[in-house]
């Protein structure tokens, strides 16, 4: 089993590298073949990743979420899985040019540093903590996909508004499709983020850590991000608004989330310390 993990730890980045390269060729060039093969390549990469995660969990005797690098691996898997789902649902031209290279960059350390970390987080044996972590990873993955499509939307919006008909105009999917993809992924991410916050709250209550939450910058920022997303989805669902403001809220929400995940978690004292 260990040998299979070792083999997959080489094959997996190769699969993602191939899919990332193909996505770039499909976007920049005119190759129909590159477009045609992109989806099968992504499916193969996801299949290999799923196998790797299963084998790794069996070898390490734990859920592969116990270290920062393991979380990165799961995050890469989730991002690509959400991307694929959104792509299949939304149709049109592929937009993996940012997502697949990002997944490749995340997978590399995830497989390279799998032995270097210390023991897994002991809290992972608590189901609420596991749910909190898993929902957090899945939610962030979905919101990453939403963010990328939101950025594409804003770029194309600017291009068309300014009468610039260059490569972005020709290569990106239509604005309405980008809007739909941004929105679909945001709804999924928002739901998972809600589960993350609720499960984290229950976990904190069970460990007498509730009083620390109001002072926890990560908790506050994630709640702020969730509220921003709620605002964006609310104006769309309840107010019927459809324009770029909902995309702004989506992009803004992710920026706050990114600040929470990267800056606060690493540099500020918090319940959420990454090691």
């Amino acid at each position: 089993m260990q040998t299979a993990v070792d083999v997959l730890s080489v094959l997996l980045p190769a699969c993602y590298a191939l899919a990332a390269a193909d996505s770039i060729v499909a976007f920049v060039g005119r190759s129909e073949g590159a477009r045609h093969f992109l989806r099968p390549l992504v499916i193969v990469a996801l299949g290999a990743h799923l196998l790797y995660l299963g084998l790794w969990a069996a070898v390490a005797h734990r859920c592969p979420l116990g270290t920062v690098f393991e979380a990165m691996g799961i995050m890469a898997f989730s991002i690509v899985a959400v991307y694929l789902a959104v792509e299949i649902r939304g149709g049109s031209r592929p937009t993996g040019i940012l997502i697949l290279p990002l997944a490749f960059v995340m997978v590399l350390p995830a497989v390279a540093f799998r032995w270097r970390e210390g023991p897994a987080n002991p809290h992972l044996s608590d189901p609420w903590f596991s749910l909190h972590t898993l929902a957090g990873v899945l939610g962030t993955a979905a919101l990453t996909v939403s963010f990328v499509h939101g950025v594409f939307y804003l770029l194309l919006y600017r291009e068309i508004k300014a009468h610039r008909f260059g490569r972005l105009f020709r290569r990106l999917p239509p604005l309405a499709v980008l809007h739909r993809k941004t929105h679909t992924a945001a709804v999924v991410g928002w739901a998972f983020l809600a589960v993350t916050i609720a499960a984290g709250y229950v976990w904190a209550a069970r460990h007498d850590a509730l009083e620390t939450l109001p002072a926890d910058p990560m908790f506050l920022l994630v709640v702020a991000a969730w509220l921003l997303y709620s605002g964006g989805l609310g104006v769309r669902f309840l107010g019927g608004w459809r324009g770029r403001y909902t995309v702004f809220l989506s992009v803004g929400g992710f920026t706050v989330l990114l600040v929470a995940l990267v800056i606060v978690a690493f540099f500020f004292p918090s319940l959420h310390v990454h090691r």
């Binding site: 005119r30 129909e32 068309i160 009468h163 008909f165 239509p174 459809r242 403001y245």
Partner: protein, 418 residues
């Protein structure tokens, strides 16, 4: 026998001459079956921009083809200097390929010509006029044109204002089947854009005009709902694409009207295409969020950008054409040795069958099939290298130099016609 071609096209002849020379499918078929029947192989390509005759004939003068066209179209003078282009052999094939790829079209890279080239081939086949050489040339032309379209930008984007309007709408909304278009102005331009939108599968179309009668008339033609000009502001709230092309001297849509419509639309995207001169929409409306206002110049920018892309693709398409012409020439050279290869195979097959028959009694029944397979495979393998060498030697002189001793050594029958 040489391949010849003559072309009377938009570069060489004015529209009156092209009109007089044009053939409809029935006339083309008759011409190929009767007037041009003396040519061993012939294809006639006739479109609004070109009439071209391709032929394989022992007479190497393309003037013969022009004479035939003149006879078929009395009164049309084709011997004036520069009136017709003349091609021979590789040049003729190259020209056909360039035409199929849209390199010779009035609008660079237009797609229609490939279908017309294919139709010309079908007509020739129906008239019994297409032989091995021209049929192969047509196949190569179709394959090359398809490759050019998929692997280069030669056919990319819209190249007319009306189609650029549709392209822009598609870049914003994608599928247009659930979208509503409002066309304001039932003049020629409005009608043209409406037709393009209808062809692009627009879900619903409203057509507004100053006079309702004219609106009704054009609306029937493009399957739209007619409206008077007073119906424009309310329609602005539901339409996704608005095309304005009236002859009004003052704007018919002000910034305030568009702003009010956008409030009612709750920021839903609105594409305003103002192709009127003077403009119909206040340019200040472009400042409003989620409003994409494009005037005639912007649409022309799209057309220019697409044409520039197509122009940049020309060297790559030309390289594809050259490669295909070389391939065709090699194939044609190989044809000269085909009778020798066929005769060689027939001789070996004859020997194989005779030997097998003579020794049949010595072979047990259960092994006969295996013996058949084995001898066939042996002959095939023995002949593979000589056949390939012959094909590669190709050309008339080299092929003949190799064919003659082979025929002598293996006592092959003389080639037909020798």
């Amino acid at each position: 026998m040489p391949i010849l071609a003559v072309s009377v096209n938009h570069r060489t002849a004015p529209v009156e001459v092209r009109e007089a020379l044009a053939f409809d499918p029935g006339q083309a078929r008759r011409f190929l079956a009767e007037e041009a029947a003396g040519l061993p192989e012939r294809i006639l390509l006739s479109t609004c921009n070109r009439t071209e005759l391709y032929a394989v004939t022992p007479n190497g003068d393309p003037g013969v083809l022009l004479d035939l066209l003149e006879k078929a179209r009395p009164g049309v003078e084709l011997d004036a200097p520069g009136r017709a282009e003349r091609y021979r052999d590789d040049e003729a094939v190259r020209h056909l390929l360039r035409v199929a790829c849209g390199l010779e079209s009035m609008v660079l890279g237009e797609a229609q010509i490939l279908g017309q080239v294919k139709e010309a081939g079908e007509l020739a086949a129906a008239a019994g006029a297409a032989g091995v050489l021209l049929r192969r040339a047509l196949e190569v032309a179709a394959r090359t044109a398809k490759k050019a379209r998929t692997s280069t930008a030669i056919g990319e984007g819209a190249v007319s204002v009306a189609s650029a309007a549709v392209e822009l709408a598609r870049r914003i909304y994608g599928d247009l089947s659930d979208r509503i278009a409002l066309v304001v102005g039932a003049g020629e331009t409005g009608r043209l854009v409406a037709r393009h939108l209808r062809a692009a599968g627009i879900g619903r179309m409203l057509l507004a005009n100053r006079t309702l009668g004219r609106a009704r008339e054009v609306a029937t033609e493009v399957k739209a709902e007619p409206r008077g000009l007073c119906g424009v502001p309310p329609a602005l709230r539901e339409a996704d694409i608005v095309v304005c092309s009236t002859a009004s001297e003052t704007p018919i849509l002000t910034e305030d009207e568009v702003r009010a419509a956008m409030r009612a639309r709750k920021d839903r995207m609105l594409l305003l295409l103002d192709i009127a001169v003077p403009r119909d929409v206040d340019p200040a409306a472009s400042r409003i969020a989620s409003v994409f206002l494009h005037d005639i110049d912007a649409l022309r920018d799209i057309v220019d950008a697409n044409l520039e892309l197509r122009r940049k693709a020309v060297p790559r398409v030309e390289a594809l054409v050259e490669e295909a012409v070389r391939g065709y020439a090699a194939w044609r050279r190989g044809l000269s040795v085909v009778p020798t290869i066929k005769a060689l195979r027939a001789r070996f097959e004859e020997i194989r069958e005779a030997e097998l028959k003579a020794n049949l009694k010595r072979v047990p029944p259960e092994a006969r099939e295996a013996a058949e397979r084995l001898t066939r495979s042996l002959v095939k393998r023995l002949l593979h290298t000589p056949s390939e060498r012959l094909r590669k030697a190709g050309g008339e002189a080299e092929g003949a130099a190799l064919s003659a001793p082979l025929r002598e050594i293996f006592d092959l029958p003389e080639e037909p016609g020798e």
